[in-house]
Amino acid sequence: MTVKVLCLAQLRGRIGGSETAVPLPNGATGRDLLRLLKNRHPQVEPLLEVSRLAVNCEYVPADAELHDGDEVVIIPPVSGG
């Protein structure tokens, strides 16, 4: 399966473009995706370590199973207000 990964704010452009298609084995979770991204992009590992994931505009826990076609947004620590 393939998920679409969107990187915003501090992560923008640091994981190969703001939007990247990432192939994953079926049944992969958010944690699996993060692990793969950390291996591929060790320079942003500390930031990925403190980022949250959102699917369909909702935060999801790291152990949530991902599905083909999901748009997964990586949300680095927020700083609005």
Partner: protein, 138 residues
């Protein structure tokens, strides 16, 4: 979707326009309410001890807008609020201008203070909005 991309759906709580700092005070008074509390987040003239001209705010807009809407519903239910106004600006916000405005009205001050505090803290903690680089003055 991001701070600067093209077309998008209408947003209820995020705005690219200047926020009128008197927007809350201009709301009609609801006679059930005896307390009104307002929070304004204003862009300071310095960031990490350096003078700046503006801050840039970026949001994951569809999610941020939806989350703020839910937080408002939660606050209304929890503190029995009748009126709530939340606006968060995205894009470039010059120093001295309002980045976020929160207004709440309730029957009594305890509810109004608590709800206002809840909203700003939840926004700062959970809503996908980021301050990106400050624009330095020369």
């Amino acid at each position: 979707m991001s701070g600067e991309s093209g077309s998008r759906l209408t947003m209820d709580y995020l705005t690219r326009d200047r926020i009128d700092r008197f927007a809350w005070q201009q709301q009609a008074v609801d006679l059930r309410d005896g307390a009104s509390v307002e929070f304004l987040g204003i862009v300071r003239g310095t960031e990490a001890d350096h003078p700046i001209a503006a801050l840039r705010y970026e949001a994951y807009e569809p999610m941020a807008d939806r989350m703020i809407g839910r937080l408002i519903e939660e606050a209304k239910a929890r503190w029995g609020l009748h009126q709530v106004l939340v606006r968060h600006r995205v894009g470039t916000v010059p120093v001295g201008e309002v980045a976020v405005l929160i207004g709440v009205a309730a029957a009594h001050r305890e509810q109004a203070f608590e709800a206002c505090r809840f909203l700003i803290e939840a926004i700062k903690r959970d809503v996908p909005i980021w301050k990106t680089n400050g624009h330095r003055t020369r």
